[in-house]
Amino acid sequence: MFDKNFINKLREQFPILHQQVYNQPLVYFDNAATNQKPLRVINVLSNYYCTINSNIHRGVHYLSQQATSAFEESRKSVQQFINARHAHEIIFTRGTTESINLVASSFSKKYLSKGDSIVISAMEHHSNIVPWQMACEATEAQLKVIPIDQSGTLMMDAYEKLLDANCKLVAVTHVSNTLGTINDIKTIIEIAHRHNIPVLIDGAQAVSHIKVDVQQLDCDFYCFSAHKMYAPMGIGVMYGKEKILEELPPYQGGGEMIKNVTFEKTTYNELPFKFEAGTPNVGDALALKEAIAFMNELGLGQINAWEHELLDYATQKLLEIEGVKIYGTAQQKTSVISFLLGNIHPYDAGIILDKLGIAVRTGHHCTQPLMDFFRIPGTIRVSLAVYNTREEIDALIKALLTVKTMFG
């Protein structure tokens, strides 16, 4: 399917890829930070503001009704995308970070107290560390960490030992943004559930690469951002099981989330509105629906297969360069490669790669504890998406050889 013609046609849908930076053709390898948007997604966003923009759920007028029904259709499309049981289990947020903060805040208000613990892993993004740290500080609970081995794989024996009677929630990433490790979350969830502990999955790095089925996984919460799945920035999703969402107190107060307000008492609206205070991000929700259609048409299986072909090719080519050390060599990986080139500082390499038109991420990737584990200041991270090509990987390899000469 992914022959040269197909890729060229696919790339035509991404106007941003067809430009030169510093007189060099742009090679975009920072897809784990955010990936690019196809024209059809951009058009939906622009079309929304040209045709039906209005505030939803309260207007009786035509535009408001159109926007409301389109917004709720988007919710249904997300529900189908992750196979949630109910549409009202899909809560729209600003992104993964807000989704996790929502759960951390509401969950800890109800269930966390002194002496309790929350279990996370050593490979978490700061956004799945700090909200829990804040919740633990507020309640005098403890944060416990599942260790990893040198390949960047979670140590499952150690994990189960952390699940004592005080443990109230497990919060683990589906895919490591730095290492690309795909965690065996099915087993992680099963083990936690044997101890009656709910599990939150940070799916930010998974949803554009792996088919996610929240019912099959049986996770209690699943959080992700739209902008890492070919949709705009500023919208994300917090999936939660109906039962647990019903029990949680609201996160923010405001319009939309209420049923009745008097100065004495407010009663809250039903799901999903209880967690969606204020005017939601309607335009981006519509664009997210289009991005899901884009991925479905390509097929996540096909996307994954092509990305793996690129991952294998890039890994092999990188290892041919003397001095390259790859961090994150787990058996199951997405198309992310973190590496160092001899003792060249990742920041130095990043500056030169940038000048050669190659966009990579350098630094600690918001996973400082993980960098401390490997005792390195950071890495160069190449993250591949469906529109990347072998030729772009060749350009990266050539550029890395230039970097090597300059700092050698």
Partner: protein, 144 residues
Amino acid sequence: METYTERTLTIINEFGLFTDWMDKYNFIIEMGKTMPLIDAKYKTDTYLISGCQSQVWLFAEYTGGKVCFSADSDAIITKGIVNILIRALSGLTASEIIEADMAFIDRIGLREHLSPTRSNGLNSMIKQMKLYALVFKTKYETNK
């Protein structure tokens, strides 16, 4: 002793020789290698200016009415850029450092390193150098 303006003109002229970005960065890398290095005993958290991507240690001392800087960084390009700042400012009086306009950074085409998103600490470095100068000025030069 060259004035601040003369020093920056020298630097601008040096950079004027390069038409190619790669030659410019090779020059910055060379500059990184000739930096007046901070005494190992000061390479501690107290003297650390933490950027997002690379670390810089900066030390300043006040001798004979002049402020002298030494530094180090774990990234060589950052080190080269710090050395450019040191060449421009080290050995001047506290007042000269406080008043230095730093526009030459723009003229040698390193403006991008001043942007806050770069997070390489260049901004905080300039701020820190000026802060040292201000502290020395207050401590040693007021009420004389």
